[in-house]
Amino acid sequence: MHNNGSNNRGNSQNPELEQPRIDGGLLDDALLQIVGRVHLTGEDAGEGIFAEEIGDIRNRQDENNLELFAKSKRAWLEDADKYLEGLYGKYFAHGSESYVYRKNIETVVKTRSFIGYDTIRQALISIKIHNDLFPETALKIIAFGRSFDEFTAVLEQKNIDGNFAAKEEIEAFVKEKFKAEKDETVIGDNSYKTDKYLLQDLKPKNVLVTKINGKKEFFVIDGDFYFNFNNKQSEKKMTDYKAERAEAWREELRKSIPAKDRTNLERVEMPMQDAVERRSNNLEVNLGLTEEMAVKESHRCLDCANPTCVTGCPVNVNIPKFIKKIEAKDFLGAAAVIKETSTLPAVCGRVCPQEKQCESKCFYTQKLKKPAVAIGYLERFAADYERESGKMSIPECEKPNGIKVAAIGSGPASLAWAADMARKGYDVTVFEALHEIGGVLKYGIPEFRLPKKIVDVEIENLAKMGVKFLTNTIIGRTITLETLRERGFKAFFIAAGAGLPRFMNIPGENANGIFSSNEYLTRVNLMHAADPEYDTPVIKGKNVMVVGGGNTAMDSVRTAKRLGAERAMIVYRRSEDEMPARLEEVHHAKEEGVEFLTLNNPVEYLANDKGQVQQAKIQKMELGEPDASGRRSPIPVEGSEYLVDTDVVVVAVGVSPNPIITSAIEGLDVDPKRRTIIVNPENNQSNISDIFAGGDIVRGGATVILAMGDGRKAAQGADEYLKSL
């Protein structure tokens, strides 16, 4: 690493490109030294912002605040590997790199980052999006990346076969093995070729097409800028979308209604249960679109030449195609299109944060500044239609190859993996620690948001495809992985989830009546504690306080309402704008009478002599300077503490990966801090070649769709691995 304060911020590689003023023009360059950068990875595809957002952060820092900024980020700076994910990276696109300035600060920040497939892909997508709309920004993004004179120095990773490697290592590696193919071609993947700036301005010195792990890999080596990406079968190329778009039926549909008429249509409203009524039942809130509504909504989709919505989907569902199938009233066909890439459409249609994914990239959102096409509702419609039609197609499976493989955990990642592996002809067994299959879909997400029968139908379909399910089996405890190997299992997919709840470690938190959201939701969802027929109890509070602002917090507080809470509160330390929950969940919660105490944070709980929580001491917060995530960070207001009566508190401030499986496998590479399994982002393979992993045990707490995407990627990886044996 040589990031110890180089003064050179010049763009020596490419003088013709004007370097963006990442300091926003407020800082005197001479006073500053760049001492490192931080790689920020979002928990989803990010907001499609890249250089601009980084610039934004800089812009908000005037000179006086700079030191404060750096100091307030000390914890962040001192964090050993400077690798931020989730919360921090949420509002950044994958792969953003952030400078850490040095000015009268003693800490020399050591940074490290990796350039992974996702990173580059996101960067390229970002470039591509901007290329069409804001070519100057696209140029800036490229320049932004190129301006890092230490860019490669941070590539300290050891795995040359993956896409982590130091510059020297890559060069040596490339020199030794792929000399013959050097300069062979220019960025081979056409899906990224439309970006004229990319090709034109990168002027790659060397573009290599090479084979690693039996896969075609592309290295673009351009001074400090390394791209490594490959063709992924699971991800359609933009060119394919174009070809399909050119099909006659699509053209005809497009012509049938003028675009102007389409854009004049209002977005459909989801029919739902009455807010008062639903508080006393556990039935699904959203009732689903009628056929008529779905078709009407499908008319809004313009079938864009450049379907940016697809880039917002972590598994790249062919969105325009399925919507146009709905327009053509071929609902089963629509479901089939979604199922080309998504394993659990009825689930994803209900629980995906569409407003941050596909719908945020919709033409309506991006250009027309109108409500997006209701992609999520339409997905749900197609999936529900198929299920209710009784004509649910069971995917065709290849001839059984007799090779035994195992998924550990039975949540969305595993179900997706099992489905793909079964399709490829493998003999799949899914091992689950709990007594029910489905993981978080069963114990976590409440019935009113995701009816369990929908999950069960998906599981039944997998069973029909030959997938075996074994409950009450903890791999690493009941059966070790080694025993499974002895019993003939050839590959493993670990997706045991993020099953370790976090607490805030504040006084009184162990009082009775204070639950983790996991416990509260498990008791109610999995154990049916609210049903008197069942033995498991739950404390039904009168004044229920839920701490947190994510989906789990919303699920908990709305559950409390349904259990009869007179007052159900969300206590969240930031403001509503920063809440990570799906917008719809926040709306629903409000309709149901949930109070939102934002900019509030519990600091202590007070209990009676029986140890039952009675009150929470709450401190008010105010928003300070933006933090690493670009969100203004909450700062406690001294002396603002007040007491709130509460008899049930649900702590929903996040989860960590479950340690049982990782600690039971010797030699498995686990992030020492986050306890997540480290995998090659290309194929989700761990450092042990027959072990793949995905979902929250890799990501540390993400979404159903990302978990599912991991499952699919890992299935591809496992298949390639098994075929290479």
């Binding site: 620690a433 903890i474 009941t478 498990t522």
Partner: protein, 274 residues
């Protein structure tokens, strides 16, 4: 579904079950526990494994009737099935050569103590076991404990068997007459608390096996959290055994009473329905 192959009453309220669970029998170690669910509507109940037979593929559990689930369990017979049995859970006991080990079992806690006594004996320790209960009927597994102990002391509250007095009286006697290097105490929380206070006084390292409320038993819910050395730990994945002198027993006792009212109500409803 796990078949009950053998049932034996130790007393009116204490029942031993031998249950088919071949995988668990193979991998369990002293100190591990299982979680059972009686039927589709049952709750998840943690129970420590007292013995296992790898060849027969069975594990042995001992349960005391105290609430709805344990009453329902005790009502099952040989040939019946327990809907779910999952395990082995928790860290196994750290077995080592300490010298003289004082093993204290209170009531039904003698069942989980048994494999630990056996393991310490097999590791070459001198093992002095104290079995304590309210009365003679509640003393269980005496013969089995004797098999692996150099000496067994029986204590009953009412003096109906062995010596009259609580477990700590027996402990003090042993500590007074010989050097004790290590102590294991398993039983009701209150008993473990006083065992711990006793050995703390004499500076004898002690572990206790905690039996808190649990749901999943795999670290997922945090229902079982206890404060150990000022830090919140999960009994299911960090325990169940902890350094007794660092456990906050008062908080643990308080937490174990979290559902007292619901349990009482449910139990009354259950009794009325019988």
């Amino acid at each position: 579904m796990n078949k009950i192959v053998k049932k034996r009453f130790f007393s009116e309220n204490v029942v031993q079950f031998v249950v088919e669970a071949p995988e668990i029998a193979r991998t369990r170690k002293a100190g591990n526990f299982v979680i059972i669910r009686l039927d589709e509507k049952g709750e998840r109940v943690p129970l420590t494994i007292s013995e296992a037979d790898i060849e027969k593929g069975t594990i042995t559990i001992v349960v005391q009737r105290i609430g709805v689930s344990t009453y329902k369990l005790a009502a099952l017979n040989e040939g019946d099935y327990i809907h779910d049995v999952v395990g082995p859970l928790g860290h196994p006991t750290h077995i080592f050569k300490a010298g003289t080990v004082l093993a204290c079992g209170g009531g039904v806690g003698v069942a989980p103590l048994l494999p630990i006594v056996q393991a310490f004996k097999e590791a070459g320790n001198r093992v002095v076991s104290i079995l304590a209960a309210r009365n003679k009927d509640l003393i269980i597994l005496e013969d089995e404990i004797r098999k692996y102990s150099d000496e067994v002391i029986i204590m009953t509250d009412d003096g109906s068997y062995g010596k009259k007095g609580v477990v700590t009286v027996g402990m003090e006697d042993v500590i007074a007459r010989e050097k004790v290097d290590f102590c294991v105490a398993i039983g009701p929380a209150i008993m473990m608390k006083f065992c711990s206070l006793t050995t703390q006084k004499h500076e004898i390292p002690t572990v206790v096996s905690l039996n808190t409320i649990m749901v999943d038993g795999t670290g997922m819910c945090g229902a079982c959290r206890v404060k150990v050395d000022g830090k919140t730990r999960f009994v299911c994945v960090d325990g169940p055994e902890f350094d007794a002198h660092k456990v906050d027993f008062n908080e643990m006792l308080m937490r174990m009473g979290a559902y007292k009212e619901q349990e009482k109500e449910a139990f009354e409803a259950y009794k009325n329905a019988q």
